[in-house]
Structures are given as structure tokens and as C-alpha cells.
């Protein structure tokens, strides 16, 4: 069994949504993750809040947030167990993130130790 990271990307992380909509997404996300965890395939995961986000550039230049020049941003990730990339992709397809236009879920295999 391999581990895959599912990375949620949004084209514009700064876009404001209504609290009601946020709550609906949150619940959908919790149910989606719960469904994966119920199959004993959930490893870890986290949302990545925009508060206190910094980007460190070469020359130690630090800028606020991933926004501005870069339109696309990462909203969160989860790590799952799967027997193949296809299975991991099936998990990704259920992600509520994909309801947002332009959003993507990137599936990447995690390299094993040794």
C-alpha cells in the first residue's frame, strides 16, 4: 500500500465566500474525509489557512501570502493510503474542492524511505 498526497489548488484563494457557503464546504469536506477514514485509508491532512502566510524568495525577501503575482494557491492537503494511483484518483474525485470552478486536486505519490 502506497501513500499519496492530494493537494487542493484554488485559482484565487483571496476570493470571499459567504459564511454559509464556507460552512457547507466544511461539512462536505468533513464527510468526504470521514468516508476515506472509514475505509482505513486516511493518513493525515490539514487545511492551510491564509492567515500568517508568507513567501520567502531568493535573497531572503519575504512577502505576504501566496497572493498577488501568483494567482493560484494551495488550500490544503490530505494524505491517503491507496494500492494504486487510480484508487487515489478515485478518492480525489470525491473532493468537494472540485465543485469550485478552476479548482484542481493534484495527486502525487509520496516517496518511501530507503
Amino acid at each position: 500500500m502506497d501513500e499519496f498526497i492530494l493537494i487542493f489548488r484554488h485559482p484565487d484563494g483571496g476570493k470571499l465566500v459567504s459564511p454559509e457557503q464556507m460552512q457547507a464546504w466544511m461539512k462536505q469536506t468533513m464527510d468526504w474525509i470521514g468516508g476515506i477514514a472509514a475505509q482505513n485509508k486516511y493518513v493525515s491532512g490539514s487545511g492551510l489557512p491564509f492567515d500568517d502566510a508568507r513567501v520567502v524568495h531568493s535573497g531572503n525577501v519575504v512577502t505576504n501570502g501566496p497572493f498577488g503575482d501568483i494567482k493560484e494557491t494551495i488550500g490544503g492537503f490530505i494524505v491517503v493510503r491507496a494500492t494504486s494511483v487510480e484508487e487515489a484518483v478515485e478518492f480525489a474525485k470525491g473532493s468537494p474542492v472540485l465543485q469550485g470552478e478552476g479548482n484542481t486536486v493534484e495527486v502525487r505519490k509520496i516517496a518511501k524511505d530507503g
Binding site: D31, G34, A37
Partner: protein, 414 residues
């Protein structure tokens, strides 16, 4: 002369107190000595009281005898005295043996310290539960064997090996340092949790004994709460969980001893006092910033103390299971989560998720599938109940499933 009424379980509870104090006195390497002296004390009580009547203050009588027997043992057993006595004597300022301290405070401290010693990470969980039952709850080998559905030899061997481990690892009977309390508490709570579950879910036919296991698990958890350093949120959460479950004891069995499923229980039989205690401890558990699995399970159990279905109830239960599964996967949590999903999103949505679980060796998995298919696919419901019937391991489960099958058959005839 009036005959004194003995309080129920006096021997059992005093045995555990005396044994814990003597274990502390002699050290973890000599648990057998402590057990023997405690047993001899009760044997003398049995022989004396049966003929002369119960003394005015039976507890004080027992403590005096235990103290004297300890003193005699130390004087009589020179070999032992040569090896162990210097250590005991070193703890005393005078040249005399220090008195065995059977004050309330010493009893509580000894029991708590023994609890930590027994739940040493080097000892198997099974053996921890067995030793706890023997040393801390005063259960006899027969009783432990009945509770575990096994024989005396197996339990004796298990306890013997556990005591060997304590001896070899030179486990100290003391409170863990404050900085380690959280780590050391983890296996203690696991053992208490399993001890309670053993009583709550055990297949043993002895209902009284099973309830006793739960009562003992709760008593030891309360002991932790009475001690300042172990009065922690996760301990409160565990006790809350136990209180909520225990509140349903009177409603779980009918007159003939058959299990009554949650949805068929008469909620007027639920013990409201225990539910109130559970709520109190769940509130206490809310202090602190860490959410343990006991917090989540206790909150789920809290929602189950409300019998009426409401969207709020099941939505909360679903989210709690979502989090519990992220924290620690277990098949039973996965099944319960899917059941909660059927209550919030309907049976068809839940079936789709249930089919993914693939817990094909688990009878309860097929019971769940059978329940979910009931109402919209009768054939699949039947197939799944039948699979469950084949896999069922206990008589109680087979009876429950048989009832579901016959109920389903009746719907066909209509």
C-alpha cells in the same frame, strides 16, 4: 449479641486495598507475598467470623490482622528478611519494621501507584487487565476466568507471566514524575477503557459479574480524578463515556436476559443520575485544548442519551465519527459512522459508502448492509443478513439476526 450485616463486596474491596498497600510495602517483585498475606487475612476472618460473629468494626479487624501477619511474616521468614528487609527497614528511621499504613490516604495512593505500575508499557494489555482485576479490584481467579470466557489455568499463567515482567523490569510502585504523567496515563486509560468494555460487551453469561467489571473500571477512573495530578480532561472524558453507557444497564436486558437493542429500549429505565454525572464530567473534560478519542466517544454517547431522532443529533454524531476515524480507525467506528450517514443522507447514499468498507469478515458489516438495503432492495437485504448469520460468533448475535430475517420475511407476505 446482634449479628453485624456485612456490606456487599466487603471482602473484595478490602482485599484490593490491603493487597495494594502490601504491594507498595514489599515492592513489585513480591506481589505474591502481598496476595498471600491478604488471602490469609480473609481466611482467618472466614474461620473466626463464621463462628464468633462479625466484629463491631470488620474493616479495622481486617487491617489489624493484616498488619500483624505482615510483621510475623517478616520475623519468621529470615531468608526473605535478609534480602528484602534491609530495603524496607531503610525506609524507616527506627530499627523496627515500619508499620503497614492502612490509612485511607495510603490506600488510595497505593492503589493509584499500583495502577501505574501494572499498566507498564512492557506488559501485555490482556495481562494488565487481568492483574488490575486481581490486585486492584480484588477479583478471584475464577471470576476473572469467567469474565474472559476462559479457564483458570490460562488466567493463572497470564498473571504469573505479568508478575515476572514486573519483577524483571524492576517496576517501581510510585507516581510517575509530573512531566511523564500524560504519557504514562495513556496505557492506564486504555486498560480502564478495555476493562469497562469487557464488562459492557462481554459474552459472559454472568450478568452480575459483568456489571461489577464496569463498576470497578468506573471506581478506578474516579480514583484518578480524585488525585490532583491525574484529574485531567481525558480522564474526565473517559468517565463521562462510562457513565453514559452505564446509564443504559437497566434497559439493555429484558426479563429473560436477552439483549434489548438501543432503538427498542425503554428509556424510562435509563439511569438519569448517571447521565447527569456523565454530563458533569464531559463539561469538566472541555477544559484543555487536546481532544482525545475519549472526548469524541463520550460526546457520541451523550447524543445517544437523547432517544428521539433529530437531524441535529445525527449530524453531530456523524461529524464526531468523522473525527474519531481520523484520530484512530476501528471497524466498529467505520460501521457506526456509516449508520449515522444513513440517518443524515439517506440509506442509498450510505449503501454506496458502506459497500466501499469491505469489512467482509465482520458479521456486523453485513448486519449494517442488511439494515441499509431494507426498504429499497429486499433481496440484497436478505442476502446480507444471511451472510451475517453465517459469520455471527455468539448466540446473542445469531438471535438478533434471526429476528431481523424473520421480520424481513413478513414484509414479503404482505
Amino acid at each position: 449479641m446482634k449479628t453485624q450485616e456485612l456490606i456487599p463486596h466487603l471482602f473484595r474491596s478490602e482485599f484490593s486495598k490491603i493487597t495494594a498497600v502490601l504491594c507498595k510495602y514489599f515492592g513489585a517483585a513480591h506481589i505474591e507475598v502481598a496476595e498471600d498475606l491478604a488471602s490469609e487475612t480473609f481466611l482467618l476472618a472466614l474461620e473466626t467470623w463464621a463462628y464468633k460473629g462479625v466484629p463491631e468494626n470488620p474493616t479495622a479487624w481486617l487491617y489489624t490482622v493484616a498488619k500483624n501477619k505482615t510483621k510475623n511474616y517478616l520475623y519468621r521468614n529470615q531468608l526473605f528478611a535478609g534480602k528484602i528487609a534491609p530495603e524496607i527497614k531503610a525506609a524507616s528511621t527506627s530499627d523496627e519494621w515500619p508499620e503497614v499504613d492502612l490509612s485511607d490516604e495510603s490506600i488510595t495512593d497505593s492503589q493509584l501507584q499500583m495502577l501505574f505500575a501494572i499498566c507498564h508499557p512492557g506488559i501485555s494489555t490482556e495481562a494488565q487487565i487481568g492483574l488490575s482485576l486481581r490486585i486492584l479490584c480484588g477479583f478471584g481467579i475464577d471470576e476473572i476466568a469467567t469474565a474472559f470466557l476462559t479457564n483458570k489455568e490460562t488466567i493463572n499463567k497470564r498473571l504469573f507471566r505479568a508478575k515476572e515482567k514486573l519483577r524483571h523490569k524492576n517496576v517501581a510502585i510510585e507516581f510517575p514524575p509530573v512531566s511523564e504523567i500524560n504519557n504514562r496515563l495513556e496505557p492506564v486509560l486504555t486498560t480502564l477503557y478495555l476493562l469497562f468494555n469487557e464488562g459492557y460487551y462481554s459474552e459472559s453469561q454472568d450478568a452480575v459479574l459483568r456489571e461489577d467489571l464496569c463498576v470497578e473500571a468506573m471506581r478506578l477512573t474516579r480514583l484518578l480524578l480524585e488525585h490532583e495530578q491525574t484529574n485531567l480532561p481525558q480522564v474526565n472524558a473517559l468517565l463521562a463515556l462510562m457513565c453514559f453507557h452505564a446509564s443504559r444497564f437497566p434497559a439493555r436486558k429484558n426479563e429473560t436476559g436477552e439483549i434489548v437493542l438501543y432503538q427498542d429500549q425503554d428509556e424510562s429505565l435509563w439511569n438519569q443520575e448517571l447521565i447527569a454525572q456523565g454530563s458533569y464530567h464531559l463539561n469538566q473534560a472541555a477544559q484543555g485544548d487536546r481532544i482525545s478519542k475519549y472526548h469524541l466517544e463520550a460526546t457520541i454517547a451523550y447524543w445517544h442519551t437523547k432517544k428521539d431522532d433529530s437531524p441535529e443529533k445525527w449530524e453531530n454524531i456523524l461529524q464526531l465519527y468523522n473525527r474519531l476515524l481520523q484520530l484512530e480507525y476501528s471497524p466498529i467506528a467505520a460501521l457506526n459512522r456509516t449508520f449515522a450517514l444513513s440517518k443524515t443522507k439517506g440509506k442509498e447514499a450510505a449503501v454506496r459508502e458502506a459497500e466501499k468498507l469491505q469489512l467482509t469478515g465482520n458479521p456486523y458489516y453485513f448486519v449494517l448492509l442488511g439494515e441499509l438495503y431494507t426498504g429499497f432492495n429486499r433481496d440484497l437485504a436478505m442476502t446480507n443478513f444471511q451472510k451475517a448469520q453465517v459469520l455471527a460468533k455468539t448466540q446473542t448475535d445469531r438471535q438478533t439476526i434471526a429476528k431481523k430475517i424473520s421480520a424481513l420475511k413478513k414484509t414479503e407476505e404482505k
